[in-house]
């Protein structure tokens, strides 16, 4: 949380005031799993209930967003795949009902063979943003590239999609990320 605060402060955003005014709510997922490796199902249920209480507590018509950062650590620490998929499905329907957007972060450790969780995520997502390092290895001027794909349920996307062949490149700096088109970075020109 401190890392979030200091990084947000770099872009002139004071998270502490947002936290006190309840426009930003932090749901500690790992605290729910503190009881150990057994009984994972109730923990997910309690997270779901906390989230749903927060979402229904907000006033009508406010635009809301739920960020789940990150789902792969839940999987790796021993939550069963079935429970996770059920949890995501429940969370997604909850967000649909309360008109909130849902962002899920997932680490792909084996890019060549997608895991089952990623397949499920791809099935239910509307958009799928794909951040990768450069395939040519580490570069000082470019940290990686981003592509945006539409999920299977979207046939007419609202945004222009970014195919992998024309991915947007980005570079991390001290204050934030700089985005630029391919071949127009500072180190290239």
């Amino acid at each position: 949380m401190t890392r979030w605060k200091t990084i947000a402060a770099k872009s002139n955003l004071n998270l502490a005031t947002h936290l006190t005014s309840n426009s930003l709510v932090f749901v500690d997922v790992s605290a729910a799993f503190d009881t150990g490796l057994d009984s994972k199902q109730p923990a997910l249920r309690s997270i779901y209930e906390m989230t749903s209480a927060e979402l229904t507590g907000q006033q009508e018509g406010a635009s809301m967003m739920v960020i789940l950062d990150d789902i792969s650590s839940l999987e790796w620490t021993g939550v069963s795949l079935l429970d996770l998929i059920r949890f995501i499905r429940a969370l997604r329907s909850l967000c649909l009902k309360s008109n909130a957007s849902l962002i899920i972060r997932h680490h792909v450790v084996t890019p060549t063979e997608p895991d089952d969780l990623l397949r499920q995520l791809l099935q239910i997502c509307t958009y799928h943003m794909d951040v990768q390092p450069l395939s040519s290895g580490r570069s000082g001027a470019v940290s990686g590239e981003i592509a945006l794909h539409a999920g299977p349920s979207v046939d007419d996307p609202d945004f222009p999609l970014i195919p992998r062949s024309a991915a947007v490149q980005y570079r991390l700096t001290d204050t934030g990320a700089v985005f630029f088109g391919r071949g127009t970075g500072g180190g290239v020109l």
Partner: protein, 444 residues
Amino acid sequence: MSSFKRKTISKQASLPPGTRLSPASLLTTITSTGVPSLDDILGGGLPLSCSLLILAPDSHSAYGELVQKYFVAQGLACGQRVCLLDGNAKGFVEECMWMPHGLPTKSHVVEDEEDAKATQHNDTIKIAWRYEQMKKFQTTVPSSISSMEEYCRTFDLTCRIPHSIIGDALQSGNLIYLNIDSTQSDSCPTKIIRRIEAYLQNGGQVSSIPLRICIPSLGSPQWGDLTPQEILWFMHSLQRLLRQHPLTCASLSLSPHICSDVWGGSGWIQKLGWFSDGAFTLSAFTANPSLATIFPAHHGLLHIHTLPAPHTLLPPSDKFSALRGLSSASSTGGSGENNLAFKCMRKRLIFETLHLDLEGGVGDRRTTPSTNAIALDIGMQSHDHGHDAEKQRKAGDTAVLHVDVEVEVGAEGNKAETSSVDIKVKKPKKTVAFQSDRPELYDF
């Protein structure tokens, strides 16, 4: 009065012992791992509230454990609290290295003597004039300057930690053993996390002295039968505890057999990297003789998986590490990253940039041998010649095979016999001797 007022921060008063502010961010307090070159790679040192994971997949060596011992020794030396989780914690601490007894400056000189001996030779060799102005090729960062002394002590691997120091630390509560024993009920990962948490809440909050948690071999037999999920859960919970207690840092090593993707499935190392702030692999050459012959000056390669960045977007190491060499071209972040390796000498462990040895490998070649080597050569030669001459006579009696060789060697042998006094005085001429007892060896 000017409206610009200089901010004065009383660093010395506020900072806990053995720590300093990170060069990257005023919010980050860093502490030393005990190895100056490792501190450099981390961007100055290990930030408090962060965890460092050392993977050493080679089961024939114990470099991971060595780094942990440095970590413990540094903690005890600068008066921080150390909490050790191991099956045999007492034995582990007693094997730690310590500072040499004499004056620190003197010991430093002694320590570098072996280095100097190796490099002094290069100083005398005249290389092409155009290289003369360049500074000496440096492969590692210099160890303790006097101001660093408090922050990172100079340890000597030939010294053991005195028992009195361990006793004092145990009595004052600066050193805590949490024994791991799989036969007892309180040693499953959940219970261990509970024990650490209880300790942090009892003693951790009141004291302003940093605490180092050291786990020398997570997943070793004392820990029982751990699954990958349990290990990841343990690391995740530990990281969470560290975040809650900002004066704590941790250093972990995994047992060698679980340090590779083979054990945890594909992507295992990456998963470990996500759950620790800094993750390195020390892959030693001991398992692979061909690598050991290619790089005789090093004992293994260092791979970086993750670097700690507790308060910044980019790890401070990118900017401040001299060894990684990214800082040279500042605007674009430099060209390439250096390959890093480590070597363990008689007195210390060093991380440095990977380079080929002199002359591209196999041993160093000396153009002017040192004086005692010459004397030795002469002794050898005169002895050999005598030997050869004897053999020659014998051979001349019995066999008439290899006529030309015999004649040549014979002439040589006669000369050596007659003018053996001369040879000792002047530099020996280049000679060729054929030794029948070592048939493949030609002595030039």
